[in-house]
């Protein structure tokens, strides 16, 4: 059997794939955080809970209405996004004039409520959610066996990340968004409805989390706790990348996912702290983050 650094190549690539999958979710979630932070100057602590909410919407659609994966892929982000917009409109929008820390505390409370509700009804154990028929099985790539669904996750997360980046950098609405980030008052004076833009942004960010959740449902089990541990890792990713750049958030997400996968190969005990270690090192060398502008 072929070996790389004394590790069988199959195991090596397998862990790398796991890392890439994790990285896909880190990228999607830190992208959503960066989009929300860019406009609202709020760190959305509820992002992990919204990710879990997205997975549960998919699960419940199947349980209650027998609606399968593909419609859920559209419906779950929609539901999460609409709920997010309602929360922004009724509550979050009251906090914009305050210290951003209040936004963090509010969304932390929100995360606890969402998580608490699902925990109350579904306990802490995971619920299985099957991958769709079309993506069952796997493909032999010659050097490794690739489960189709995992390939799909990597592919779609790349499309989502690139799509969001293009939408913000290249479209008119994106230009409004960026302008409102720089100078909301001026943009408002030009006749753009900034409060609606803020609501849409929070909706979009929440929907991204929901979409990541439904994509994750067949990979990990659907569990009320799936978001809370993830969000802390994503925070570390965001600190490493700096939230100044959307592309930076995406790239950092994938790279750190891969770094985590590699650590699993060589030193498994450290695999769940390696991202935090990288964060500490980056703080020493470049406190503003790899892609960040100095605050």
């Amino acid at each position: 059997m072929t070996m790389i650094f004394g590790i069988p190549v199959q195991a090596f690539l397998g862990q790398l794939l796991v890392g890439l999958i994790n990285g896909s979710f880190y990228a999607m979630l830190s992208l959503g955080l960066a989009v929300i932070f860019g406009m609202l100057k709020i760190i959305n602590f509820a992002h992990g809970a919204q990710y879990m909410f997205g997975a549960f919407v998919g699960f419940l659609l199947l349980q209650w209405l027998n609606i399968g994966y593909w419609p859920a892929l559209i419906l779950a982000p929609l539901v999460v996004g609409v709920v997010g917009m309602a929360i922004e409109r009724t509550m979050l929008s009251r906090l914009y004039s305050l210290d951003p820390l209040y936004g963090l505390l509010f969304t932390f409370g929100l995360a606890l409520v969402i998580e608490g509700v699902f925990r109350y009804y579904y306990g802490v154990s995971g619920q299985p959610y099957a991958a769709p028929q079309a993506l069952a099985g796997g493909t032999n790539l010659g050097f490794m066996f690739l489960p189709n669904y995992r390939g799909w996750v990597v592919f779609s997360s790349l499309v989502i990340c690139l799509g969001t980046w293009l939408a913000i950098e290249k479209t008119r609405l994106g230009a409004y968004l960026r302008a409102a980030t720089e100078n909301p008052k001026l943009v408002q004076a030009f006749g753009v409805n900034v409060p609606v833009l803020l609501t849409l942004t929070y909706g979009l960010g929440s929907a991204l989390a929901g979409l990541a959740g439904i994509l994750a449902a067949p990979v990990y089990q659907v569990s009320p706790l799936m978001g809370s541990d993830l969000i802390i890792v994503v925070f570390a990713v965001v600190v490493v990348g700096g939230m100044g750049s959307i592309l930076g958030a995406i790239v950092t997400g994938y790279v750190l996912g891969l770094a985590e996968g590699l650590t699993k190969v060589f030193y498994p005990e450290a695999s769940n702290i390696v991202i935090f270690v990288i964060m500490a090192v980056v703080l020493l060398i470049r406190p503003a983050g790899l892609f960040g502008r100095d605050a």
Binding site: L101, F108, V113, G116, A236, V239, F276, A295
Partner: protein, 321 residues
């Protein structure tokens, strides 16, 4: 907020009123174990000290740490381990726990103070999570089981802490010492510099203060005092588990401080009392604590950001903070 025109006699009478209230509070705490369940009171005192230590950082320095559970739970582990395995007396165990938390605070603070505001919160959260994973894997913490059956032992080798009143008054002593230390720090010249950093960091820098060093010092002190609370809790409950190092615990202490009143001396204690009481009540009702905690968070942030004690202060002019 304070009335600048307050005449000296008024100020004196307010101060006298404050001392009277403090004395009444101490008397009440001395008498309390005869009326309430001592373990419950000791739990409140441990959390009240924890929240006051946290408030030293949030309320007086303006730094929101989302990782204070690491110091609270970490000190509990250090204390429980040294008392149970090394066989040291409880006061030595508590001191070791406190010192351990201070060292941990020095390391975490060193990284965290490199960023401000929201980033500071996220970094402390991530570092505390790292410590959590360390506690899951390190052999001395016994993983999921935690350190059980920690002997309460004899204070200074003499006083049997197995007796309810002895341990109660010991915990009360620790609590009062801790709160007094915080009060001294806050009202010292050092504390004034911390407040100036909270109000305007750039200005403090331009006045020649080494802001980073002051922040780090405040962080270490806050961590050590949180550790004092955690180590004492380990002696009271005779165990140290992973619960105390989770991010939920970091959130809980924020809630206590926010609910009671950020930047007030008494607020965190009131908040701790309310949150612990609420948890005890809900524990038997079947209603999930997480939902209640989260809802209180949202309500506090939306409706009364000054907290209960802060709102009372705001309603009653003439009482200084």
């Amino acid at each position: 907020m304070a009335e600048l025109s307050t005449r000296p006699t008024e100020a004196k009478s307010t101060a006298r009123l404050e001392w009277l209230l403090v004395a009444l509070g101490i008397v009440a705490l001395l008498a309390a174990p005869f009326f309430f369940y001592p373990i419950f009171l000791m739990k409140i005192m441990c959390f009240a000290l924890f929240a006051c230590a946290f408030n030293l950082l949030l309320g007086y320095t303006g730094l929101l740490s989302f990782g204070h559970a690491a110091f609270f739970g970490g000190a509990a582990y250090f204390c429980a381990h040294t008392v149970k395995v090394w066989g040291v007396t409880p006061e030595v165990g508590i001191l070791i726990g406190t010192a351990g938390a201070a060292v941990l605070g020095l390391v975490m603070g060193f990284f965290a103070i490199r960023r401000q505001g929201i980033y500071f919160a996220m970094i402390t959260l991530a570092l505390a999570q790292m410590f959590f994973f360390f506690c899951v894997q390190a052999p001395f913490t016994n993983g999921e089981d935690g350190i059980q059956n920690v002997p309460r032992g004899f204070l200074l080798g003499l006083l049997d802490l197995g007796r309810p009143l002895n341990i109660y008054y010991t915990v009360l002593g620790v609590f009062l010492i801790g709160v007094f230390a915080i009060w001294r720090i806050v009202n010292s010249p050092f504390g004034m510099v911390l407040r100036s950093i909270r109000e305007n960091e750039n200005r403090a820098t331009s006045l020649g203060y080494s802001v980073a060093n002051y922040k780090l010092a405040a962080f270490v002190m806050s961590a050590a005092l949180a550790g004092l609370a955690g180590a004492t809790k380990a002696i009271v409950f005779q165990f140290a588990t992973l619960t105390d190092v989770t991010w939920q615990m970091s959130g809980e202490v924020i809630l206590m401080t926010l609910l009671g009143g950020i930047g007030t001396m008494v607020g965190p204690m009131v908040g701790a009392g309310l949150v612990v009481t609420l948890q005890n009540t809900l524990a038997t009702s079947g209603f999930p604590v997480t939902i209640a905690t989260g809802a209180i968070f949202m309500i506090c942030v939306l409706l009364f950001r000054r907290g209960i004690v802060g709102e009372i202060y705001a309603k009653l002019p003439g009482i200084k903070k």
